[in-house]
Each structure stands twice: as structure tokens, then as C-alpha cells.
Amino acid sequence: MTATIISNLPVFVVIAPLFVAFVLSTFARRIRLVESLVIAVLALGVLGAGYLASLVLMQNGIPITYSMGGWPAPWGIELVAGSLSAFFLLLVSGVSLPVALFTVANMTHEVGGSVRTTRFYVLYLLLAGALAGMAVTNDLFNVFVLVEVATLSCCGLVSACKHPRAAEAAFNYLILATLGSALILGGIGFLYIITGHLNMGFASMELCRIWQDYPHVVWIAGGFLLVGFGVKSALFPLHVWLPDAHSTAPSPASAILSGLAVKGYMICFIKVLYNVFGATLIQEFALDRILSLLGMVAIIAGSLFAVAQDELKRRLAFSTVAQVGYVFLGLGQVNVCSLTGTLFHIASHAVIKSGLFLAAGAIIAATGKTRISEMAGIGGRMPITMAAFTIGSLGMVGIPLFSGFIGKWHLLSGSLTAGSTLAPLVIVIGSVLAAAYLFPIIRTAYFEQAQATDGQDPGAPQRIALILLAAGVVILGVAPGPFLELASRAAVELLAIK
């Protein structure tokens, strides 16, 4: 029994939300049931991911492999749950549950009636399933399919608001994201043409043997994948779709988009980069230098744009652009410490940013104000919301005891090990700029004289969601133990592939 559960766990965590997503529309009129089903399946996901993670931690690096349809590896499709997968699964389930909790009895004013809300949940679960799939997949074409499922559900979530601006943002997002998907598919095509494999492990072995014969094709494939995933994960200057999309979406959708969806594409990119190309080829083709350069530009540019925004959700959206830069910067320093930092930063940013967006959503819902300059004194009226926001901000800036610090510490120490002098400087400047765009919000909220008196903390489920995410920031900062362990093992495994 246990053995069956274990061997089927990797596919179960993907299938369960997808299945519920399809069933959901039949209960469209009974919104309470829909909500409880969503929460139940996501809670199940947390349990499954937690169990999987503990198994992976106990098995000391031997991944759990699942062959779809019983066909073994080069022919069939493989799902592999190693440290990286367990890490990301834990993150996906751990963040999507509180965000879903925030939506309970809270979506109608932004989305509409119960049928529309049900559709929102369908898309939400599809996205969660796709992200879980990205964590475990070991097949290049599956990466493309999952990326597309995620993209379409993201676009759907963005357009869930009735506002016409949302439709426009969703359309722009859709066009650019499809362009990115086409590039990703092209890149995968080139890899398939020269290696003859879609399974990452086999493709990597083959690529290692023959790359010297086809250097140009490898270059083109790498370039296609970089630009494709760059568009998807909003790497500056390919981020143009993000600020509109993430600021017009309903707040829980913004939270999941900025917090998790962008991270899903990054995990796919990390897999393609490190599991297929491998560390040797990354350095051979100078991808490391390109990545870290792009990352540094993104950190500085994204932060500066963020400082200039007055609309709260747009500021947070640009902050995502900046934080994406850290991930690319870390990917460009090919060593264990940096990769650990990168993965941990992905996790900490996912928790922080979804918390920040939810807090922003609560403020906007309670007061109707979207601009930071109008939020004077909100801290006194919405104490829990602003406390969660403050904790998230401290984490983002990288104050010790909060999650952001651990990621930044590893990134700094990794980039110093890699011998870079510019990267540490950019990381630190990025932190100061993060303070520059987040602390004024806190200052306005707590220390400026209030003119308005409206607004109060949201309902119980929303408060629990905010508290859970804020607690996540603190726990990841104070006792990151198993999570950091998973990240560092994943980093070691990624670098072990030659």
C-alpha cells in the first residue's frame, strides 16, 4: 500500500488539482462547495508535497521516478521527483493554499457572480496543477505543454476582472507569452533535432557527446530558450507585459502570478539549463556571463522603475521584475552556494510577494485606494494587514531574521566565490533600492497623519492567509532548516550533471 502511494505520488500531486479543476464547473452554482473543494485539494497537495519532500530528504538523493503509462524512459514520459522537484512542489502547495484561503468568500466584488468565480477557481487549479507538473516533469516536450497550460490559465486569471483594462493587459500578455512559447518550442525542437531525445537525462547525455559537432545549433537553441523563458519569467527588458498584467489582475491572482507562476517558468529554465545543457556547456557557451549580466541589469532597472511608481500594485509588480533579476544573477554564477541562494530566493520571494500582493489587495478592497500617497495612516486601521506587509517588506529588503536574508547571503557568498566583484555590489544596491521602494509605503501607512478613517482588516480567512504567509517569511528566515537543505541538495544535484 505504502509502496503504491509512494510510487504514484509524483503523478498524483499533478493530477489531483487538474482533475478537481474539471469537476469544479459542475458545481458552479454552489460556491461554498467549490471553495471547500479547492481548499481541500490544495491542502491534500500540501500533505503530498510534504510527504514527498520528507521521502526525498530521507532517501539521500535517490529520486522517485514515475513512468507514464508504464513505458520506461527513452520511449515513455518520465516524472522524476528529486530534491529540486520536492523543493518546488513544497513551495507551490505551500503558497497556493494560503492564497486560495484568501479568496474564500472574497472574490465576488472583483470577479463577479458564482459562475464567474467558479471559472476563476478552475483556472487557479489548472495553474496549480501545471506548476506542480513543472516541478516533477523530466521531459522537454512536457515542459512546453505545462508552460502553455500555465500561460493560458495565467492569462485567464488576469482577464478575470470585469474591467476592460484587464482584457487589454491579458491580451498583451497572451501575445508576448505565446511568442515566448514559440521560442521555447523552437529551442526544444533544435535540441531534439540534434540529440533525438526529449527525456532530459538522455538528451543531456547525447548533447554532451555531440555538442562539438553542432556548436551553432546549440547556440541557437540556448538563445531561443533564454529569450523564450526570459519573456515568460519577465526578465528585463522582456518584462513589458508584467506590470500591466500583474497590477490589473484580481489581487489573489496577482499574488499567485507574481509569487508562483513566474517561478514555475524559472524552475523549467533551471531544469533545461542545468539538466540538459549542464554546467560545462553553460560555461563553454558563455551563458553564465550573459545570465548574470542580464540579472544585474534587471535588478537595478526593475528597482528604479519600482521606486518611480505611485500605484501600490504596480510598484509591487516592478519589484517582481527586480527580484527576477536576482534569480538570473544567481543562475549565472555556476556554483553550489549561488544555486542554493537562487533556489532559496525563489522560495522566499514567492512567499513574500504573494503576501505583499494579498495585503495590497486587502487594503484596496477595504479603502478603494490604489495609490500609495493616499494610504496615510492605514497601519492603525488595518493592523494585521499592514503587519503582514511590513514583515514581507523586511524580508524583501533582506533584514536578518527574515527569509530574504538567507537567500541573499548565499547569493553574495556564491558570487564572491565565483570571483565576481560587480555582482555583490549589485545585490547590495538592490537591497537598498528595495528599501527605497517598500519602506515609504510603511512610513506612509504608520507614520503619516491620516485624513481618512475608512478601512478595516479583512475577514477571518483573509487574515489567516496573511498571517500564514507572514509566518512563512519569519520561519524561512529563522529556521530554514529542511527547506535550505532541500535547496542545497538540489543545487548539488544540478551541478553534478556534466
Binding site: 536578518p400 538567507i406 555590489l425 547590495v428 537598498v432 528599501a435 503619516e448 528566515g477
Partner: protein, 481 residues
């Protein structure tokens, strides 16, 4: 062990009690504030007694691959004693000064939280803990800087936080460099980098450390936040911007020089020979700018900048006498400067006068205040019966012993300029004509006056029997040489 935890917690607990206390009268709040400051001071003294008696107190742990540790050593306890003792005086002074002010709850909450964090800086046993508390200190003192909530205060607050966070960023890079060179960040043993051969990495680390801590130590040209931060209420200016916050920077530099690099290694780095001159430059320029200021608190701020570099100068001589001077100056200067600030605060509260040019005749209205102010002014020159005489004596002795006699000259010149800085003010305050007599604001000034006079008395006492503080100084020197 338990003393250490209690010392650290007393301020935080008091602060949180005040923050979450339901609406109440100021009397109960003052009792909480006083008792938690007093607890902080008492437990710090107990910790200090234990450490100076040679016992080891250490609490340490790791999380997420980062070790943290609380491990007071003589240097740490000297800082902790200065801070916690003066906190007690500042708390009493605050009761008088803040009476009737708005936002007292916020004020006392952060005032007490800052005590805990400052003691955390002092008791840190490794660089990670030091960095943690150093960052937190910025955050918990920010609300105190912007207490007035005016536009000027907000601007000052922003400047303060930007300067401090940038400095902390530099420190973080330097810590990571240190970590990558040694893999150990503990102050417990000898100097961290003692076994590392001099190289460019070390030079960078030292430069980043000094620049980072130099922000809070207000080394020119990183000082600009300090004069602006004077918009804070006077007890805050006195305590934080003359003692706790700026000393955390100074303390950080002392740590870096003696615990991270060690005086032997630092002497081999070319950069270290520039450092005393940066300090000397700050000493002279700071005090010269101070004489140009008309607003009394701004004058005191620039004067602080100058005096802090006395301590740095002593530290950079890398000589036992110089270090002794630095530690003595840390102790003596803080008592005198807090007296000066307290005096300035009483003058401002009682007469509404904030400019030096308006001070003539104030002395007859506030004789006690101006007496204390005068004693402290004499101390700033380094006059014989006051405690700073001894610190300056050792600083000069250290400079000469190190073979840099021009530095001793700098100290003498600075002393003379110091005389111009405050003495004429005090003299005209007693003898000058009262230009526009201001009615006494009928405020109970005893709560403000008593701590001021007491501190002046303590300064005099230490000056007369420097042996009182010598055990601490001696322990620090024995620890590092």
C-alpha cells in the same frame, strides 16, 4: 547566562508592554519605562561584573548554515555599560521632557526596543549577530528620528535610513568576504583573519567595513545624516545620536580592527596608514564646522562627529595606549555629551531658545543647567579635573608611541578649537544681557535637571579618580594585546 538574556530582554519586554497596554495614564507608562531601563542597566552591570571577573558567558546556535552567538567580552561590556547606564538617565530625563507631548506611546516603545537592540550589538559574539542587531538598530530608531512628523523630520528620517542601510550593505559584503576567507565569524578566539596573508581581498574587506560602520560613526564624508537627525526630541538626540547609534558604528570599527583583523595584520595593510588621517581630518573639520553653527543642537551634532573620531583615532593607532585612550574616551565623552544635550534640551524647553546667539543671560534664569553645561564644555577641551583629560592624555601618548606625533598635535589644536566652541556661550549665558526675557514656562524641570547634574557629577568623579573605570579599560587592552 540568565543575566545576559534578561539584560537583552528587559528593554524589549518593556517596549512591548507599553505598545500593547490599553489606554492609560502617563504615570504607569513611566513606571514601566523606568523599571525596564533600570532592569537593563542592572543586568548589564551583572553581566559586566561576571565578564570582567573572567567568567565566560556564551549563548550560540546556528540556523540555516549561519551561526549566531552572544558572547560578551570586555569591549562589549564596556559599551553595554555605557549604553544601559545612560539609558536610565535618558529615561528619567524623558519623563520631564516628553510630558505633554504627543505620541508618547510610540516614543517609549521604540525607546525601550532600542535599548535591547543596542545591548544586542554590544553582546554580539560574532559578525552575523553584530550585523543583525546593527540593522535592527536602524529600524527601531527610525520612528524616534521622525518623532515630530514634520516634513523636515521625515526627510531626516529618510536620509538616516538610506545612509544606514547602504552602510549595512557594505558591511554585509565585507562579512561575506571574511567568511569566504576563513569560514569562521566568531570573535571568541584570536583575531579572525590573523592567519590570512595580506592580499587585495583583505584591503577591500577593511575598506568596506570601515565605510559601512563609518556611516553610523559619522566619519566625514559619511556624516551628513547626523546633523539632520537632530530634529528628533532631545533625549533621543542625546542618547542615540551622541551615544547608542553612533557608538554602534564606532564599536563596529573597534571590533573590525581588533577582533576581525587584529592589530598585527592591519598594520601590514597599506590602507591602515590612511585611516588615522581620515579620523584626524574628521576631528578637525567636524569641530571647525561646529563653531560655525548657530543652532545649538546642530553645533552639538558636528561636535559629536569630531569627538567620535577621537575614539577612532585611538583605535587606529594600533597601540595599547591608543586603545586605552579610545576606551576611556568612549566612557568619558558619552557622559559629557549627554550632559550637553540635556542642557540644550532644558534651555529649549524652558526658554524656547535654540540658537547660540540668543543664549546671553540664560544662565541667570537656569543656573543649574548652565553649570552642568559649563562643566561639560570644559570637559570637551580636556581640562584637568574632568574625565576627558585622561582619555586625551592616553590618546596623545598612543599617537606618540606609535611614532605619529603630528596626530598628537591634531588633538591639541582640536582642544583649542573646542574651547571656542562652547566656552563663550557659557560665559555670555551667565554675564550677558538678557535680550528678550522669556517667562519661565512653569514646567517642572526637576526630572530633567537631576539627571543632567548627576551626569556632570559623574564626569567629575571619573576625572578625579580614573581608577574607577580603569579595570574595564585594562581588561579590553589585555583582551586584544
Amino acid at each position: 547566562m540568565i543575566d545576559l538574556v534578561l539584560a537583552l530582554l528587559s528593554g524589549a519586554v518593556g517596549g512591548l508592554i507599553i505598545a500593547f497596554m490599553p489606554q492609560c495614564g502617563s504615570r504607569l507608562r513611566n513606571v514601566v519605562a523606568l523599571s525596564s531601563s533600570a532592569a537593563g542597566a542592572i543586568f548589564s552591570w551583572r553581566v559586566a561584573g561576571a565578564v570582567l571577573a573572567g567568567r565566560t558567558i556564551r549563548i550560540a546556535g546556528t540556523n540555516g548554515g549561519l551561526a549566531w552567538s552572544l558572547h560578551p567580552d570586555p569591549l562589549g561590556v564596556v559599551f553595554a555599560l555605557i549604553a544601559s547606564t545612560l539609558w536610565l538617565f535618558a529615561a528619567v530625563y524623558s519623563f520631564g521632557y516628553m510630558a505633554g507631548e504627543e505620541r508618547q506611546r510610540t516614543y517609549y516603545t521604540y525607546f525601550l526596543l532600542a535599548l535591547s537592540v543596542t545591548l544586542g550589538v554590544a553582546f554580539s559574539g560574532n559578525l552575523v549577530s553584530l550585523y543583525l542587531f546593527y540593522e535592527l538598530l536602524t529600524l527601531v530608531t527610525y520612528p524616534l528620528v521622525i518623532h515630530e512628523r514634520t516634513e523636515e523630520a521625515m526627510k531626516a528620517g529618510t536620509k538616516y535610513i538610506v545612509y544606514s542601510l547602504s552602510g549595512a550593505g557594505a558591511i554585509l559584503i565585507a562579512i561575506v568576504i571574511t567568511y569566504s576567507l576563513t569560514g569562521n565569524l566568531d570573535f571568541g578566539g584570536g583575531a579572525l583573519l590573523a592567519d590570512v596573508s595580506p592580499g587585495p581581498g583583505l584591503g577591500w574587506a577593511l575598506a568596506l567595513f570601515v565605510a559601512g560602520f563609518g556611516v553610523k560613526a559619522a566619519v566625514i564624508p559619511l556624516h551628513r545624516w547626523l546633523p539632520q537627525a537632530m530634529v528628533a526630541p532631545t533625549p533621543i538626540s542625546a542618547l542615540l545620536h551622541a551615544v547608542a547609534v553612533v557608538y554602534s558604528g564606532v564599536y563596529g570599527i573597534l571590533r573590525v580592527v581588533y577582533s576581525v583583523f587584529g592589530h598585527e595584520l592591519i598594520g601590514q595593510l597599506g590602507f591602515s596608514h590612511i585611516l588615522p588621517w581620515i579620523a584626524a581630518f574628521t576631528i578637525l573639520v567636524g569641530v571647525i564646522i561646529a563653531t560655525q553653527q548657530d543652532v545649538l543642537k546642530r553645533r552639538l551634532a558636528y561636535h559629536t562627529i569630531s569627538q567620535l573620531s577621537y575614539i577612532l583615532l585611538g583605535a587606529f593607532t594600533l597601540h595599547p595606549w591608543g586603545l586605552a585612550g579610545a576606551i576611556l574616551h568612549m566612557i568619558s565623552y558619552s557622559t559629557l555629551k549627554v550632559t550637553l544635550f540635556f542642557g540644550a534640551g532644558i534651555i529649549a524647553k524652558q526658554t524656547g531658545k535654540v540658537n547660540v546667539s540668543e543664549m546671553s543671560g540664560v544662565g541667570r534664569q537656569l543656573p543649574g543647567t548652565l553649570t552642568a553645561f559649563g562643566i561639560a564644555s570644559l570637559g570637551m577641551i580636556g581640562m584637568m579635573p574632568l574625565n576627558t583629560f585622561w582619555s586625551k592624555y592616553y590618546l596623545m601618548k598612543g599617537s606618540v608611541a606609535w611614532g605619529k606625533s603630528p596626530l598628537a598635535l591634531v588633538l591639541i589644536v582640536s582642544g583649542i578649537i573646542n574651547a571656542f566652541c562652547f566656552i563663550p556661550t557659557v560665559v555670555t549665558a551667565f554675564t550677558g544681557e538678557m535680550r528678550q526675557p522669556v517667562a519661565n514656562k512653569e514646567r517642572d524641570a526637576r526630572l530633567m535637571l537631576v539627571p543632567t547634574l548627576l551626569l556632570a557629577g559623574i564626569a567629575l568623579l571619573i576625572g578625579l579618580c580614573p581608577g574607577l573605570v580603569w579595570p574595564g579599560v585594562d581588561a579590553v587592552i589585555n583582551r586584544f594585546f
